[in-house]
Every structure is written in structure tokens, then in C-alpha cells.
């Protein structure tokens, strides 16, 4: 058994790199998973920095590459980064809102070897799509969907589900089918970052969730192999935690816009840990030797009830960020687990979400949209997102 903080000897290579090439985004989605204080993060990496870091990760064994953000198309070197990554042998998916995806750019991505495009919609209706993203983007996204098919790309449609749109799952799936999507991700909101701030607006009721799952299963039977539908359940409705990132520092390497290398999108919030920057360190050292990536590998950091639990090899104690956000200690059991002495932190919120009126928020506090102004304010107030107790934007 290794000592806490020492490097376990059996570290496998990363498989999946998520490159958040920018935090800039023309959309203002209330459930965005970028850090709430992104406006305080450092300068973006240069093209050369990205290419070097991706090459180092590929040499370690990484295969899957997500080019995301923010909105990755905000960078005009996305084409260069993708073309270079393609030469390295990555399977590359562009994760985009569609804003900025012109025919000229999609042709360049095609030529450069981009493999797939994941297009996000916020809803099947223009009204709610545009409200949730606080932009007028529905028509534009619909045009982009056509462009993606025109360029013969496999299309992955991603729709983040929550209390305000989950009752539209049937329409959302019909829209996906009409667009010719090969893959649909109905991703229930997980409560981090901006989604945590807006949690009382977003958490669906159990009845909403069950209905949406039933509709999804019926639709699966209807489309068969033509369209793969993933339905990601919100972990608040589970009794055992998700195997977050398939284990800390196990397969996933997130590189943020400022170059910070992280074991997940959210780990930047954890106190007492220092995460390395790809500008200063080789990815091999980052992955294998940096204290940040070794902090929660293995199980020597675990406390009870995880430590003696047979499920620890399946769920790794759940999510460190969620444990920290909700209990104040990242080494606690994820409170989603019903064996956690703090499981009530989840069930109290879930109970509140059952009433009175699904489809309507359970709070009178206004929605906090993701934008630079709110980010600067949230960055000053607290590093850890908590549900908005009072309007941020007065």
C-alpha cells in the first residue's frame, strides 16, 4: 500500500484529453461547467503550447481528443490545432455551440482531419433554447446542423437536461432524428460551477426524470441502431455515487484555457492542491508525478465508510469536487452515496425539488447567467460555487 500523496506504481496512460482551448463564449448558459471565476483565469495558451502539450499527451497514449471551451470557435487557430492533432493520430471531436461554424471553417476542419462534431442545443424550441443560453442562437444552430450533415460528419447532438426542458425530451429526440444525428447525449445537469449556483432552478423532480427516461426508452425502440441515445441520469437521484472520471487521474486529462492540467473539469476548486501548467511542465511528469494528479489516486486517501467498502473499486468514493463542495472536505464520501453520513445534503435538496410545480423553478432568486460580469463578481465572493442565496446581479 502506498503512502498518501506518493505516486502509485501502476498508473495507466491517459486515454482522453479534453482541451478547453478558450473560456470565451458567446453563449451564457446557466448550467455552464466552466469555473464560475473563469474571468480571473490567466492568459490563453498559444497555438504552439497547445500543439506541444497535445503531442506529449499522445506520446503517453492518449487517443480521444475533445476540442472544447468555452466556444472553441472563438479561437481562429482551432483549424491549426485540429490539423496538427490529426497528424498525431488522435480521434478528434469538436464540441461547439455552432456559433462561428461557417462553411469555410467546416471545410477547413474536414481537410484537417476532424473526426466528429458535437453540437449543443439547449432545447427543441427556439424560445427556451434562446432563453437558456441568453442569446438568439436557435436558427443559427439549425443551419449549422444542416452544414454538419452536408459535410458528411457524424453528428452528436448534446442537450443538457434540467427542470426547465426535461419535459421536452420527446420533441428533442424528434428534432435529433430529423437532423440525422448519429448520436444523442441527453445529459442531465450535474451540479458544479454555474449549475451549482443555479441548482434550485435546474434540479428536476423525480416524476419528470422518470417520464423522460420512459420517453427515451420508447424512442430507442423506435429508432433502433440508426441513432444512439445516451441518457445520463443526474447523480442526485442515485444512491451510489458515479465513478467520477472513471477514477482520479485514471483516464481523463483536462487542459484548461490557461494551460492548467486537471484530472477533471472542476478540480481547480479544490483547496490545498496545486495543479501544474502545461507551459511549465511536461505532460508525462504532470500525469505520473505531479502531486495534484496523485492526490486521490488509489485508495490510501479514503476515510470511512469508503475505506472498508467493497464498492470502492467500482466508484472510487464518487466525486472529490462534489464531496468538497457539499461537505467541505474532499476526502469525505461523495454525499450522493446513501452510506455517507451526510447523504441528507442530497436528499434535502431532492425533496425540495418535488414540489410544487415541475417545470417551474423552486426559488424566487433570479437565474445567474454565465457571463464575464457575473464571473468577476462570483470570483470575488467565493471560489466555491454555492446556490445563489441572493441575486448576484443587482
Amino acid at each position: 500500500m502506498e503512502k498518501a500523496g506518493s505516486a502509485p506504481s501502476n498508473v495507466k496512460p491517459p486515454l482522453w484529453v479534453n482541451a478547453e482551448i478558450t473560456f470565451r463564449c458567446p453563449l451564457h448558459c446557466l448550467f455552464c461547467y466552466n469555473p464560475v471565476d473563469y474571468a480571473h483565469s490567466g492568459a490563453e495558451l498559444s497555438t504552439d503550447d497547445w500543439v506541444r502539450a497535445l503531442r506529449q499527451a499522445r506520446e503517453l497514449g492518449a487517443i480521444q481528443l475533445g476540442i472544447s471551451g468555452g466556444e472553441p470557435l472563438m479561437r481562429d487557430d482551432a483549424e491549426t490545432i485540429i490539423a496538427e492533432a490529426h497528424k498525431m493520430g488522435y480521434f478528434i471531436t469538436l464540441l461547439t455551440s455552432g456559433v462561428g461554424l461557417t462553411e469555410q471553417r467546416i471545410a477547413a476542419f474536414r481537410a484537417g482531419g476532424l473526426d466528429a462534431i458535437q453540437l449543443s442545443f439547449q432545447d427543441s424550441t427556439r424560445e427556451l433554447n434562446d432563453f437558456l443560453s441568453s442569446t438568439r442562437t436557435f436558427e443559427l444552430k439549425s443551419k449549422v446542423a444542416k452544414l454538419i450533415k452536408q459535410y458528411d460528419y457524424p453528428m452528436v447532438l448534446n442537450v443538457v437536461l434540467h427542470r426547465l426542458n426535461i419535459d421536452h425530451v420527446q420533441k428533442i429526440l424528434e428534432m435529433a432524428e430529423a437532423m440525422g444525428a448519429e448520436q444523442v447525449e441527453l445529459a442531465n445537469t450535474q451540479y458544479y460551477s454555474w449549475a451549482m449556483v443555479n441548482r434550485d432552478h435546474l434540479l428536476p423532480s423525480r416524476e419528470q426524470l422518470q417520464r423522460a427516461e420512459a420517453v427515451t426508452n420508447q424512442f430507442r425502440a423506435h429508432v433502433g441502431n440508426k441513432m444512439k441515445i445516451y441518457f445520463v441520469v443526474p447523480d442526485y437521484y442515485a444512491t451510489r455515487p458515479k465513478a467520477c472520471m472513471n477514477g482520479w487521474g485514471s483516464v481523463f486529462l483536462n487542459i484548461a484555457a490557461d494551460g492548467m492540467a486537471l484530472p477533471c473539469h472542476e478540480a481547480r476548486m479544490l483547496p490545498g492542491l496545486t495543479f501544474p501548467n502545461v507551459k511549465d511542465h511536461d505532460v508525462r511528469w504532470i500525469w505520473h508525478d505531479s502531486p495534484g494528479f496523485n492526490a486521490y489516486r488509489g485508495d490510501s486517501w479514503m476515510k470511512e465508510p469508503c475505506r472498508s467498502c467493497p464498492d470502492k473499486v467500482k466508484d472510487y468514493g464518487g466525486c472529490r469536487c462534489q464531496a468538497f463542495m457539499l461537505t467541505g472536505d474532499a476526502t469525505n464520501t461523495d454525499p450522493v452515496c446513501d452510506l455517507s453520513p451526510q447523504h441528507h445534503l442530497i436528499t434535502d435538496v431532492v425533496e425540495k425539488a418535488q414540489n410544487p410545480d415541475p417545470g417551474k423553478p423552486m426559488t424566487v432568486h433570479p437565474i445567474v447567467f454565465r457571463d464575464d460580469k457575473n464571473s468577476r463578481k462570483l470570483g470575488e465572493k467565493h471560489a466555491v460555487p454555492t446556490p445563489a442565496a441572493a441575486p448576484v446581479d443587482s
Binding site: 496512460p13 486515454l15 482522453w16 503517453l60 497514449g61 487517443i63 480521444q64 475533445g66 493520430g89 480521434f91 471531436t93 473526426d115 466528429a116 458535437q118 458528411d152 457524424p154 452528436v156 448519429e182 448520436q183 441502431n225 444512439k228
Partner: protein
């Protein structure tokens, strides 16, 4: 068991969201698709390596028998391709 989808004269290809390649770090063939990865163990990799949208299933079997002489693998190949079809990895042309 449902009706077979794969016959000896079927010509098959990968569904277009999939990419097949050898990964040195894995020491294995893999199937890649948007945000996913399937590691293909021994024979699965050898079979899919020969799926090119031109060769029939019979052609794939014969090629495998040349590479691995003395092994009766016709039924194994068909069984695997049925599974791959069921999972949506491949389609018939």
C-alpha cells in the same frame, strides 16, 4: 435468436462514426467513436482489420485462414460480426 444479418457473401464496412486503428500504448487494435473507445482483444482486432467495405465475409474468412492456418474459424467470424452488427459498429453494403 433473431434472423442473421451477416451472410458469407455480405460486404461490410464500419459505420461511419467509427475509426479503427492500432494503438501502441494499448498494444491492441481499438475502435474509436465520438467520446468513446473500444479495445479489441486478439481475434476481434484481426477480423475488423479486414473489414474494408470491399471484401466479402467469405473473403475475410479465407484471408484469416491463410494467416492462421489449421484453425476452423468460419463460424467464429460470423458470430463476431453478428455481435458487431448488433452493437452498431458495422453495416452491410
Amino acid at each position: 435468436m433473431s434472423a442473421p444479418n451477416i451472410a458469407l457473401d455480405s460486404v461490410i464496412e464500419l459505420q461511419r462514426q467509427y475509426r479503427f486503428q492500432y494503438e501502441e500504448a494499448q498494444k491492441a487494435y481499438v475502435l474509436l467513436y465520438p467520446e468513446g473507445l473500444i479495445r479489441l482483444e486478439g481475434s476481434a482486432g484481426e477480423i475488423l482489420k479486414r473489414v474494408d467495405g470491399k471484401t466479402s465475409v467469405e473473403g475475410i474468412v479465407q484471408d484469416l485462414q491463410q494467416t492462421f492456418p489449421g484453425v476452423e474459424l468460419r463460424q467464429d467470424v460470423i458470430d463476431f460480426l453478428e455481435v458487431a452488427y448488433g452493437k452498431g459498429w458495422i453495416r452491410t453494403k
